[in-house]
């Protein structure tokens, strides 16, 4: 048996360079998004708005699924919550986007707290089915209560003010200009915050829960509390993304809460690689592009999307980035060492 070494070997993970599984690709994506308005037409830029909105939402879902191992099939409900918060707020005179984001976060986090408290006791299939049911509960509520929610027609979201300023310009200019950059900055902030969290002991504990919740318990990890925390955070981020979507489409649509929309979000997660930090963000980009391109090429884009998902699950379960980062070197696992 080896004796205690005199000097500590420099093998600590901190010394490792950033991998494909790390924050690198996301940084590239963010830079790309930042320069897009300059390189692309205003119209094309507007089509990139959902990449930012979905990007924030899947940032949260990645913490829930990629890092904590909980697959929610009802997460689109938070997109809907965010969008409807934006609609209700703007229609009642609250036009400041700062306030809208705060309200969306608050409502999203609160609902996530209640839903999570009930759901995170369960795992895997049951968690998926339960969240699907609750998501559909919200959908049916939004769909049916016409007087409150506008029913199947949804609720209009008016243009908010950014930093107190009203921007007197066309919708396309607004959405590809000030609003685009505003949301991008918010995205960057959340990327930094969540990245920091993932690299902390809390992030490590989440991954321990994902890998072996029983063992984690015996090592003193507060499984229930951390799961709930991850759920609340992801709910909050989902709502923020939803509010952005609501503003960019001008509409809060009950279909945002339909279970197939949750499926789309999961698709983005898996596409890029749920175990990596950057994967889902990249997945959101690819999904939006795929949908746009496929939709303009053929009316059968859903088939393309479905086939892609199927191929992914069968051939590349770790997603694009996950698989690529695995081939970079031995002993480097996607999830744990961004």
């Amino acid at each position: 048996m080896s004796a205690l070494p005199e000097t500590l070997p420099a093998s600590t993970p901190a010394a490792r360079p950033l991998l494909l599984g790390g924050v690198g690709p996301l940084v590239i994506l963010l830079v790309g998004l930042a320069v897009s308005p300059v390189l692309l037409s205003a119209y094309a830029t507007v089509t990139l708005m959902p990449v930012i909105a979905y990007g924030i939402a899947v940032l949260g879902m990645n913490i829930l699924f990629g890092y904590t191992g909980m697959l929610s099939f009802g997460h689109a409900m938070f997109l809907a919550i965010g969008a409807y918060c934006a609609a209700v707020a703007t229609q009642h005179g609250i036009l400041s986007f700062e306030w809208i984001l705060l309200v969306a976060s608050g409502v999203g986090a609160s609902i996530a707290l209640i839903v999570g408290a009930l759901c995170v006791r369960f795992t895997h299939i049951f968690f998926g089915v339960l969240t699907l049911a609750i998501g559909m509960l919200l959908h049916s509520f939004l769909f049916k209560f016409y007087d409150l929610t506008g029913g199947d027609q949804g609720m209009r979201v008016l243009r908010p003010t950014l930093l107190g300023q009203t921007w007197d310009m066309s919708a396309t200019q607004f959405l590809s200009g000030p609003f685009y950059y505003y949301c991008l900055v918010v995205y960057v902030v959340f990327v930094l915050v969540t990245y920091r969290m993932i690299k902390s002991p809390v992030g490590l504990h989440l991954q321990a829960i994902r890998d072996n919740e029983n063992k984690a318990r015996y090592l003193g990890v507060h499984v229930y509390r951390l799961r709930l925390g991850a759920f609340v955070l992801s709910g909050m981020l989902g709502s923020i993304g939803g509010a952005m979507l609501g503003v960019s489409t001008g509409l809060a649509d009950p279909e945002l809460a339909y279970w197939t929309q949750s499926g789309n979000l999961i698709f983005m997660l898996v596409l890029g690689g749920a175990g990596t930090f950057s994967g889902p963000g990249v997945g959101a980009l690819i999904f939006v592009l795929l949908q746009d391109i496929a939709a303009s090429e053929t009316q059968y884009w859903r088939f393309l999307l479905g086939a892609t998902l199927t191929v992914l699950v069968l051939a590349l379960p770790d997603g694009l980035l996950g698989t690529l980062s695995k081939y970079r070197g031995p002993g480097k696992n996607p999830g744990a060492q961004p």
């Binding site: 099939f73 049951f126 609750i134 509520f141 859903r302 892609t308 699950v313 379960p317």
Partner: protein
């Protein structure tokens, strides 16, 4: 006495729901796969049945052959499940999340398959055929005979399935494979074939259900996604993996739907989800379920 009509209408819905839920339960019970595409098979059965009936109509067959034709159509197209099961094989031993994703991929693909073959508008069948069975009227109870026959057919299928699983050799092999796949393989059973069989039967149940519903409602692109929610409600309330649960759950959901639609349509589907959520929280096993994961 109109309540009786309501109940019978509910039972009709339940009968069809039962078939699909039964398929779901069978597949989950044996292969531990949650088939999100169950609704897609339902829709497939519906669309295919409409096509078959419109072809067969040209042969001037007696209208009373409608039900057998529908069932055969459902049976035929349900066989599509067999090759699809091959695709599912890699994910059996993986994290359950992956099978949810895979079957979701199927849902997306099926959507466009329907669009391609049958177009985007809802399709319905010639209602005259449905009416050919006539209506049973007795003491202020009035029910279309077609509905009655479907309810009876459903009960028959339930009994046949139940008996097959409990008494027959095939049934025992299926149940053994469900309990412990590796063990049964060690005993010489070709588990892969059992899985293919079970999956195909599960799909056929779905397609037959869809075929049987088209005389009463149109086949549309949205019916697949909508049915998934109903089927899940049935399975959750009745209990995952249980046939008796499929019956109980189907009856409850079928009745709730009919009653709610009649009395308080705003609350209709909301009430079903509330019940689902309540069951998941307070009795996660459902009424007859075996496990709360």
């Amino acid at each position: 006495m109109q309540y009786l009509n309501l109940i019978l209408a509910g039972l009709f819905q339940a009968a069809v729901l039962f078939l699909v839920a039964c398929g779901l339960q069978l597949i989950f019970g044996v292969q531990k796969i949650v088939n999100l595409a169950c609704g897609s098979f339902y829709a497939l059965g519906a669309f295919f049945a409409i096509t078959v009936v419109s072809i067969v109509q040209q042969w001037q067959l007696p209208a009373l052959l409608l039900i057998p034709v529908l069932v055969l159509a459902g049976l035929a197209i349900g066989l599509v499940g067999a090759p699809l099961e091959l695709m599912l094989r890699p994910v059996y031993r993986r994290d359950p999340s992956y099978q949810l994703l895979l079957t979701f991929g199927l849902v997306l693909m099926f959507q466009d398959v329907f669009r391609f073959f049958w177009g985007a508008a809802p399709r319905s069948m010639d209602t005259a055929l449905y009416g050919a069975y006539g209506t049973l009227e007795a003491q202020a109870v009035s029910i279309p005979i077609y509905n009655l026959l479907v309810i009876l057919a459903s009960i028959a299928i339930a009994l046949i399935l139940g008996l097959t699983l409990k008494r027959s050799r095939v049934g025992r092999i299926v149940r053994a494979t469900a309990e412990n796949r590796d063990m049964t393989e060690a005993l010489g059973v070709n588990a892969s074939r059992v899985f293919t069989l079970v999956f195909t039967v599960g799909c056929i149940l779905g397609t037959v259900g869809g075929a049987l519903i088209v005389p009463t409602s149109a086949a549309s692109l949205t019916m697949a996604a909508e049915l998934v929610v109903d089927a899940f409600a049935v399975v959750v309330i009745g209990g995952l993996g249980s046939m008796a649960g499929a019956v109980a759950g189907a009856v409850i959901v079928g009745l709730m739907r009919t009653v709610a639609v009649t009395f308080a349509s705003e609350v209709e589907i909301l009430s079903i989800y509330l019940v689902v959520v309540a069951v998941l929280l307070f009795r996660p096993k459902g009424l007859f379920g075996k496990e709360a994961v």
